[in-house]
Symmetry: D3
Subunit: 236 residues, 6 copies
């Protein structure tokens, strides 16, 4: 289920902070993936459908360099990724084996993958940064994936940073990390989030102008009226 | 791949401690599931093929009491379990939502499931104990699974307590916890473990008789000769 | 707000597992206190209003044996406890300093305190057990509270095991641990939980009689009809 | 108890490293708040009296966007902060819900709050940085406070990063994090810390000149004499 | 430095809770080893000089079954233990490799070792219990030590459960765990602890008789006078 | 055992990622030290023999500023360090006491120490950075070592970040952290790692040119032939 360009443009204007507020109001408190941070400061906000990958712990007979040539390998998974997807990798939070290095990230970049998100870590950080692929991860480690992880498949339901992610859920990332919008909630989020973002921007301006918080944030009836007026006047 | 009765009988005579030693000598250091302990003291040693279940984290729209009636539910998984299997449940180590209570454990017991192993916890501990199902778990918690977990399927590769478990691997449990014997290693383990167990029993007798450790454990050449003689004499 | 005897009797018949299910259906997923377990096997189910105590970390100038004589001491807090309350102590999960030993627990028992719940630990476990006070805690440790904790007050909102507890919330404990029923939800819980408990007991009987899970748990329309009939017939 | 400008100036010349050494010599080993780091590199050293805020865990009925309008809200707490205070927020180390975003930090900046310190995290990191408020925290997260936290009050004793903080204790922050000077120790610290800082600076110069450590750091009698002479000569 | 029988007898009458209180009054807050608990309920209180053992993490080339025959092996360490010592083993808190099983514990028991204390775990729990050696540990695990640990020596300073232990420090254990009395403090502890224990026993009797805590614990001047009288009267 | 300049030059051209791959193929999966990161971005790759230091937990009677003048002090250890060594410090992962500050790091820099590696933290980060000593550590903290650590010796086997390190093992560090090459494996690593690095660089070029991963990484027979040809042609 690819996103259409208008959807991507809309979501690219919404912070992950605002998205979590909108989803919480719908009863979803657990949509922000713990422990995944931008690998490089200033990466752009990314929006795309989730393409999931799954690891289980390493067993020495299975997690070997030889396994990299198997049909169920991370290599095969990468070749299956359509352009524009966000690869979301369940590494069970393991921090002492890098899921991918420069070669695999370089290939993802070539294939037009929008970003890589994992609750694990990458290796050869210097090389990964050179590929230009936007990466959100839990840090870096030198050892290869097979030192701690066995790859078992793609496009299955996964957990990533304590959050359930299903193929085709929508993922949005920025400096605050990565948030999943469940596919079934996409329409509502697209409808409501821009207004939330707009209201908070107007509130921030009032704060900059010296306004006190009570009655402003959240808005009471009087503030709401002022805000509606500002919108009419093209000032919000 | 059911185990035959002779295989079960042989493995029932081997401690999980000995099994881990035998597997380590073959290069497998990561076969003991962390954080899963007998729910009741004195549970018998259990041997059986793994039947795997998998959870991801809870998302409020999916992890609901209503989901218990879905085709991909723990209920359906239990009805798919053949007699004699050991159910191994990947709960990602989550300790604040019980995967099963008395009703599900009672049904597993009725179906002839040999044991339940999880790196998560069970709920309604008093009721679970009454069902008589042997359980190895990480403790108990009152909340239902949906408070923290979303069920996603069965008979897939899983991680349990930091160990990879594949359907039809063999699981053995005792007071020291639960060990997985990868299916491909079963033959070797059946061939070698009984001798290891026998040698350690003979060594223990020497210790009880006052022998010092150096040269005895591990055995040097002289001790080995004495042990071989003892075997011939029917004393080991 | 003391509980009346009928309320206590009703709740004494409901497991904490059932209470968490009832509260989850009302949107409350976080009511079970993590890390607090029965100090002694087989303690009775306890029901009572929360009487809260609060610690912050130790600072060597404040957390001293001399502080035990101060007006804001654990001693003063205990003397303020009415009969029948459940003392709930926020120890921030600290496991290396015992909040109370035999003397303080003995005094609580004398005052008719119903139980002590903490996400911390007690000290002088042998002595505490002798007092007969029912205790749910996170283990035992020899050092006194002042080795790690500074006491700061009572009957304030606290966190205990990752759960918010307010004075006069109702606490219920059993082998699965301790659950808080927010005061505002008490009426609904009293109204609905007994039926939930009754239904689960009837389901368990069907399982014991060999029934399969799908359609039974949760009940489909046909099963519901059978259950309603059983109730009419006095068989559920 | 506001600090006078001379006190602030003196403490602004002392590193938190030196402050912890001075306090340790007085028996206080636990004054540095764990897990709180500068949000932006190169933030200036900040000195001010602590203004404390306190959260407990989230309960879905209480921790709602609606609660932000309650009289016991973070908004009310911020409006109560005098100019020059350091806001110290007990978030129990929770890392998956941001205590404040750009709007609340913007308001604190407007009110002349000197800095924000928390063992929790902030949200909308990009926006918070734009407000210019100096922040020490445990990272960033997108979700709002109510996803994990319930606000319960201000100017109470709190724990922050495993350290007890009381209103009007003095807080000093720099690149090494945040240290609390208990109010009762302020006089002694002001009297002794500058000399400690001066001595260490002189020692560092000797190291740069090639001196070996034994006898230099800590100083033996001969070195002490040289140092005293250097002070007389205006060279230390 | 063996303890003399009178010292052992005196300390055998003092709980570890009381010992930590006495040591805290002398400025030692960190003497109780975290994470080590009785392997069997009801083990007697043990007193003895520490005999230390030290592990570092496993490296596959060193941590092998073959290493068990090396001169720097756990076997050699055990043969070097004098009668009456308490073996204290630094396993860095590792919980997935058992430091010793039945054979090594059996040999320690034969050699008259008073007890085994570790912040790690033992293996073959059933076998270890049969040897009769009193053990305090952090749980049980099936894998052998070499699955996670490399043995490096004995009678060196170690950390155990976050506490520094030096050879010939005195260790006391009971249901609350294990406490180290630094060798230099032994005289003072022997002189003061019995009186502390006696006073607390008298206070407990007052509590049982219904006395309130303020003024009693800690004792105010009036209570102290009553206690002194009780001692004279042979009633304390 | 100093390294010769040619060995240092060779290893300076190999990433720690490649070293872990080479060592894993020899059965060593645990050679990368967890939790130690560059203190400053862009530090050069460092190669040198390990010079080990060891701490145990703090005990208030031993871990005092006075102890800094003892013969078994960190000061004495630093004066014993030969030029070119990499100091590797076992701080047991403790994050709330800085092992060294500017003065000790300045002295190490003066003595020609190549780098400081620890699983603990440093203090006075600003001052340490000014010394120019390359540091890999687990963060920064203001308190002095004696707030949490007791120094016990140097050039002993240690654990650092969950890895065994022996004096004269070789340590290599870069942006991915620090890896130990056991002394016995140095020859093999020097012989094989450069070819591994060369092959991966050639593969990366193919990826940049648009090649797909299967058959390329790892190389199948055809790719291997192409690579060998490229080497002959001076293009790899």
């Amino acid at each position: 289920m690819p996103l259409d360009p208008a959807q991507i443009e809309t979501l690219s204007g919404i912070s992950t902070a605002t998205l979590t507020t909108v989803l919480l109001k719908k009863g979803l408190r657990n949509v922000w993936m713990r422990g995944t941070k931008p690998l490089r400061a200033g990466q752009p906000r990314i929006v795309g459908p989730a393409f999931t990958l799954r690891f289980v712990p390493a067993r020495e007979d299975l997690a070997t360099p030889a396994s990299w040539a198997s049909p169920t390998s991370t290599r095969a998974a990468i070749e299956a990724m359509p352009e524009g997807v966000v690869a979301v990798v369940d590494a069970m939070g393991i921090e002492d084996a890098g899921i991918f290095g420069d070669i695999l990230c370089g290939r993802m970049q070539k294939r037009g993958v929008a970003a890589l998100i994992t609750d694990g870590v990458v290796r050869d950080a210097a090389g990964v940064l050179q590929t230009g692929l936007p990466v959100w991860c839990n840090g870096v480690a030198a050892p290869p994936s097979v030192a701690g992880l066995t790859f078992v498949g793609w496009q299955q339901p996964i957990g990533c940073g304590g959050v359930a992610v299903f193929p085709d859920d929508v993922v949005v990332t920025d400096d605050d990390g990565a948030v999943v919008i469940p596919a079934a909630f996409l329409g509502e989020v697209l409808a409501e989030a821009p207004e939330q973002e707009r209201a908070e921007a107007w509130i921030m301006k009032q704060v900059e102008a010296g306004a006190a918080l009570p009655g402003l944030y959240p808005m009471n009836a009087e503030t709401k009226a002022r805000y509606e007026q500002a919108k009419e006047d093209g000032e919000a």
